[in-house]
Every structure is written in C-alpha cells, then in structure tokens.
C-alpha cells in the first residue's frame, strides 16, 4: 500500500516535469522561462524554510544565509576549482550541511525569538564576511567573470532551454525529497516537537537531535535555491546573503500558507509576479509589498493555498454531512 503511494508521487512528479517541459512551446520567449527559473530558485528556498517554520516551529530569520552560501559556494567552485557541475552541486550541498550543523548546533538550543535572532545574527556575519573578503568574493560588487557552465552528460547549461529544463528538474526533485521528508516518521516527530517539545522529551526522544537534523536538511535545500539563482545570473552577489532574502523567504511561506506543503511555491510565484508587475509600474515596490503583507496579516492568516485548502475541506465536510443526513 505504501509502495503505491510512493509510486503515485513519482508519477505525479514526472507528470509535472512533463508539463513544465512543454510549457515553453506554449509560451515561447525568454520571459516565461526566465520566470520559471527564478521561481524554481525561490520555491526551493522557501519550501526549505517552511520545513523549519511550518513543520518544525522554528522561525528562522536568517535562512537567507544558506541561499547566499549556496550561490557563492557553487559559483566559486565552478570559477576557481574548475569542478564539473554535478560535483560542484554535490559539494555545495555538503558545505551547507557542514555549516548548518555548526550554526544549528548553537541556534536550536534557544527558544522562539532567541532562536530567530541568533539565526539573523549568523546571517549578518556571513554577509559581512562576503563583503569583507574581497579577493575571494569580489566584495560588494559580487563575483565578476561569470560562472563557467561546462557541459555534462550532454546537458549544456549555457543553452537557455537546457537551463530551463535543469532548473525544473531540480525544483521537482527537491520538492519531492522534501515532501518525503515531511511525510516520514521523522517529519511527524518534527510536527510533534513543533506542537509540544516538552511532551516529546517525555516520549524518550532527544529533541535537539531532531531539530538539528531538520535545520541541516533545510540548510541544504536553502543553498540549492541560491545555487540555481547563481546559475541563472552567472554570478553571486552579497544581496543573496542579505537579511532581505530571509525576509522574502518568510514572506513567501506566509503568503502561500504555512500549513500546506506547496504553499511556499505559490508564495514564490506570487512574490515574483508582484515584483515583476509592480516594479514595471512604480519604483515603490517596497511600499506595495508592505501593503500586501498587511492584507495577509489581517485577512488571510493561513495564506493563499492554506485558505483555499480549508475552504475546499469544509465544503467537502459539509457535503459529507448532507449526504449522511439524507440516509
């Protein structure tokens, strides 16, 4: 029975990939594919943040650290070490895992707001490092000289269509893995910790270990988001590690809906649409974003997808109730 649910998910993922791969023929032109590529970077990043916020109850204000770390690690590995793309991809994930283990070991022992601010502090530390270490990082100018994209397995990422397909694949694969993560016994232990950490301790579980592993997994996928973005812009900028990225991450998570796995993906689409449309109309993007956040905070607490999901569930329940009443 369980094997079939996994197969169903695989089929779903393959189906989504198939649809994504034909979409550029429906919407030709760079505009669409560029949008999807940026969206994939943001969606992987925001979904990884939701592992912490939505499933772990750990509100990180510094998750952008891993976005920046992923972008710089990958770009530098490609530039300076001349590794292959798959190798740089793997090493970037390993580096982020290491950094996340170190930072996580310090942060996860703190509660609520203290955790949030410590993550933010580490993010600002990394940002300052990037700015200060000019010989390696190019300082506030960002990396210069571009990120080489040598072909591998017949995939040429300097071809926009190949890059589009690659990003779609990474998006779907990452979400697939993270979905498995939250649906595993581990994922449910994480939810229990979110609800009541003390009670989890009294089940004989060392709470910090579960939290730390969640922090590391979130860090790894956060860096994958940054990696995709550095592939797209063929560089890395200090802004990738700035606190505003963390803020946008939280925004996407809240906008899409904390309680729904695909909420942050919806949040990523909305954020990008907003920024593309609004920046074309006015220079006051920040102002518009502020108003949108306010509306969500006041009206749509559960986020877009969360609200829709609950409405659908309530209707289904009401329907079931009516049907039961007729008997």
């Amino acid at each position: 029975m369980r094997r079939s649910t996994v197969l169903r998910d695989v089929a779903f993922a393959v189906g989504v990939l198939a649809i994504l791969s034909v979409l550029p023929f429906v919407f030709p032109g760079r505009h669409f594919s560029d949008f999807v590529i940026r969206m994939s970077a943001f969606a992987v990043f925001a979904t990884s943040l939701n592992l912490l916020i939505g499933y772990g109850g750990m509100v990180s204000f510094g998750h952008g650290l891993f976005y920046g770390l992923g972008a710089y690690s990958f770009a530098l590995l490609m530039q300076k070490a001349g590794t292959s793309i798959p190798m740089a991809f793997l090493l970037t994930m390993l580096i982020s895992a290491g950094v996340a283990t170190l930072i996580g070991a310090i942060c996860i022992r703190l509660k609520e707001i203290y955790f949030s601010f410590l993550t933010l502090a580490f993010q600002m530390l990394v940002h300052s490092l990037i700015i200060a270490w000019t010989p390696l990082t190019g300082g506030d100018q960002g990396l210069t000289g571009g990120v080489p994209r040598p072909p591998f397995l017949g995939i040429r990422l300097d071809d926009p269509h190949h890059l589009y397909l690659f990003c779609c694949f990474v998006l779907v694969a990452s979400l697939f893995v993270m979905y498995h993560f939250v649906q595993s016994p581990f994922g449910y232990t994480l939810r229990m910790i979110r609800d009541n950490p003390r009670r989890v301790g009294f089940l004989g579980i060392q709470v910090w270990r579960i939290r730390l592993l969640a922090f590391v997994v979130a860090g790894i996928f956060g860096s994958v988001g940054g990696l995709l973005m550095s592939l797209f812009v063929s560089s890395a900028y200090p802004d990738f590690a700035y606190w505003t990225i963390s803020g946008e991450g939280v925004f996407m998570v809240l906008m899409g809906g904390i309680g729904v796995f695909l909420g942050p993906l919806v949040g990523a689409v909305v954020l990008l649409l907003l920024s593309d449309i609004v920046t074309g109309l006015t220079e006051y993007f920040g102002l518009v974003l502020g108003v949108v956040i306010l509306c969500f905070a006041l009206g749509l607490r559960k986020g877009l997808l969360g609200t829709l999901w609950e409405a659908w569930r309530d209707r289904r329940r009401a329907g079931a109730g009516l049907a039961a009443g007729k008997h």
Partner: protein
C-alpha cells in the same frame, strides 16, 4: 521497583521536597495525596528528570536515575501523564499515538519510510482501545473534550509500555460521573498491563476505593503511608488533612 531515598529540592531557598523517602513495590497501585502545594507534582518532576534533585537517590530497579534527563529516564521504562493534559494539539489522536509508538520503538527518526508505519499499527490500535479513544482516532487532538485530552495524554505514556507509570491527577477538572469512568479506565489498564502505577488524586472516595497503598505528602515531607485503612486511622492525617471529609467517607 521504584525506591526513593532522601529526596530534596528547593526553589530559590524555598524547600519544596524535604528529604522524602518512598518505596513502590513492583506491580503496585499507589495513590499520592496531599493538600495543594504539598509537592506532589514536584515529586513527579524530580523522579522523571524534569527537575534535578538537590540530593537523594532514585532507584529504578537497581539503577540510580537521579540527575538523568527526561528522555533518559523514559528510555529506562518510566512514563508519565500531566496534571494539565500535555498533547499535540494540531495532530490527530491516531497520529499522536503512532508518533509515541515510533518513539518507543526507536522509529521516530526514520526518513526512508512513510508515516504511519504499518508495523506500529497493532500497538497503536491496542493503546487507543485501552483508553477508549478508538472512536475518535481521526479527531484533531486540540478539539477533543477535556476528558479525552487527559485520556490521550495517558495513552501517549501507555504507548511506551512503561514499567512505572505516573499519572498526575487523571481526574482533575472532571465532573463526578466522568471521574469514575476515568478511574475505572485507569484501574482496568493497570490490571491488564501489570505495571507499577502511581497516581496523584484529590478525590478521597476514589483514593480509598482504588488505591492498594497511599502516600500522604505535606509541605514536602511524607506525613503518612500505608494501606487505605492505616492511612484512614492515622491521627496526623485526620488532623492535618482529611478532617471531617474523612468521616463523611467512612459513613458511606
């Protein structure tokens, strides 16, 4: 089974546990009674590692568990439920119980499989049936009635198949009818599971009817201990705690 010697704890100079020594035989059913603030919950907190004792030994079997953390104590076969039901409000009853079974079996950090695990089902079903929550298995815990939340809290502890089970006021906040149902359930699972069960209780009718032995705490010391009859006749208990209520109980 559980042997406590000279247990001490003070909070900022105020002594809450004042050299308590108690012994709980294997498979016994014991009630702990005492007025508000006597240190009953503190006693549970010390025994389960929620607080570190200032002094004293806590022997579980042959091992001194004083100073261990709650997960370490729980792993050695002790489980508890709380005075105010402590549950996972956004998870369903079923999810909570499966989670507890996973914890007990060491499956709680598995990544390669889907939740719920099929091999946890038999035990999860048994636990839900024991506390009669099977009909509400798919209810979100936060929406359960007060009494059902207390039952779920106990069920979480039961899923760990403890050798020693500590229940902090299982009937707290319930109406008379519901209380008797609750204590009947608790008594039935004690009979079925052959564990050492210690419960804190304020309702003297329940205490004298169900407990094999009773320990009376007052101001962090043991005021009296013994069978219900011995405790009933203990002059200090009559004077300090039971008073006229005891007469009322006796005349029933």
């Amino acid at each position: 089974m559980l042997r406590i010697e000279n247990l001490r704890k003070s909070f900022g100079g105020v002594s809450a546990m004042n050299g308590v020594s108690l012994n709980f035989a294997e498979g016994s059913l014991t009630a702990i009674i005492g007025p508000n603030g006597a240190g009953k919950t503190t006693f549970f907190n010390l025994v389960t590692g929620a607080f570190k004792p200032d002094a004293g030994t806590i022997l579980l079997g042959d091992e001194d568990i004083a100073g261990l953390s709650p997960p370490e104590v729980v792993r050695r076969g002790m489980a508890r439920a709380f005075q105010i039901a402590s549950i996972y409000p956004t998870l369903t009853v079923r999810e909570s119980i499966f989670g507890a079974v996973n914890a007990h079996r060491g499956w709680h950090a598995r990544l390669g499989r889907r939740f719920p695990l099929a091999e946890a089902k038999a035990q999860a079903d048994e636990v839900m049936e024991l506390v009669k929550l099977d009909s509400r298995a798919d209810t979100v815990s936060g929406y359960l009635s007060h009494g059902d939340q207390k039952l779920l809290d106990i069920a979480l502890a039961l899923a760990l198949e403890p050798r020693v089970l500590l229940l902090d006021e299982p009937t707290a906040g319930m109406g008379p009818e519901e209380r008797w149902q609750m204590i009947e359930t608790v008594h039935a699972l004690w009979e079925r599971k052959h564990m050492t069960l210690i419960f804190i209780e304020h309702d003297m009718d329940i205490v004298f009817r169900y407990a094999q032995t009773i320990r009376v705490l007052s101001y962090g010391t043991v005021l009296a201990e013994g069978t219900p009859d011995e405790v009933r006749q203990h002059p200090k208990v009559i004077e300090a705690y039971l008073g006229s209520h005891f007469e009322h109980t006796d005349s029933r």
